[in-house]
Amino acid sequence: MSPGQINFQMPYETSPGPASVVITTSGSPSPGFSFTVSPSAPGVFLSGSHAIAQNQDGTLNDAGHPIAPAGTLVVYLTGQGPLDNAVATGAAAPSQPLSRATQPYSATIGGQIAPIQFLGLTPGYVGLAQANITVPNLSRGDYPLVITVGGVAGKAADVSVGAPGSGSAAGN
């Protein structure tokens, strides 16, 4: 947190719908600020307009490290919505059992369906989710990735795709 920004985890106990946040600083409460909480709100972590995602070889996906078609891209996001195995607010997600998103989800890269193999919380982290996505057959270039959960489409984030059988997808 800082004087201008506080990063926090929205409590799991918050009900979807109208909400109000009050920041109390050393006993002085701010006026309430109204906003809306959605059941799900997928948001991919960004570096500029590029998604923060790991290629199959562990490198960070970018123009210099694209992933080949058919490779598995691990995209980091938050706001996946309800989970099959609940985690306490503020607590790190466990690895056993995994917590998977229960609402319908899908992804597209460059407008093409990109199958999601796993969407759920990243073990060891708070409020952090990951989507393991199979990259569709696309030519080399940057493409918008859109993840949709529970009918709510997240903001598009670019991912870099390389030539088939080359680059970070080698060994897939």
Partner: protein, 357 residues
Amino acid sequence: MTQFMKIMKTFGLAVLMWYAVTNPASAQMNDIKTVFIIVMENHDWAQIKNSLSAPYINQTLLPMASYAEQYYNPPRIHPSLPNYLWLEAGTNFGIGNDSDPKINHQGTTAHFVTQLRDAGVSWKTYQEGITGTACPLASSSQYAPKHNPFIYFDDVTNANDPNSAFCIAHVRPYGEFAPDLKSDAVARFVFITPDLCDDMHDSCSPLEDPIRQGDTWLSNEIPKILGSAAYQSGGAIFIVWDEAENGDGPIGMIAISPFAKGGGYSSTTHYTHGSTLRTLEEIFGVLPLRDAASQTDLSGLFKQAGATGATVAGVTNGASFSSDVAPGALASVFGTNLALATASAASLPLPAFMGGI
């Protein structure tokens, strides 16, 4: 994943906390409704502050707290018992040893918890290591009477009666504290004495590091208080050391409260145990006793009325910064005066309170 964490830090998202909506309250010390005081043992502030053995105090508590840099035990008052008596009565009654109540008991009713009783304010002490089946007038295992000032007063113990119902009702095992917190059944004045391993007094296995033992204990126990209704609806936690290891101090005094200035605020005002007693007496509206009447209270650690509050300008998804947020998601609040300083959570689970926020 390591690479991911680097990226997270780049974007400031390693700084995470979950928020709590608290009730509006005035920003004055005198608006405190419930006091929790925890007494630690036998270390100079210089041994605690920045100590690698005290990561919870230094990385979590101090950034959210107000604390004193010049807090002393009363001049040449040692060992433990006279300092505990001073916190309760503003004097050591001439006592300069740690003997049990059968030797050092006092007949006066002029002491703090009797002031509270007369004012209709509830109080209770939670002592780690007692059974709760008798008034604990003698040492047992890691419990030491010398760290429990209340049992030195005849009006509490019915003159050293181990079966004193009043004593037994007010001097309770620490194990009852968490359930009382959870059921919102704590008294308005709560005095907590960890046992000799947990209050930094003794070196105990497996850590064999008194400071780390106490720091670990605080890291386990303070979050329970912070998460309680009693704290969130107007509580204050004071963590104070009884006496210096070298001379008279400085020793530690940490104040955590929605009403405290917080944010790691430190004061160089000269304080003593008389200051703490005076502060407690002011909070509960009773007259200062003995030395407390001539000491400076701890109001300097608390926020004064009329301070500028925070203004929230927006709430966003913590990843994409779109307006979509969901339960359990990481999110960001933007605005002005949201915090007194920059701070980040040092451990999991994420704290509900940080830096006075």
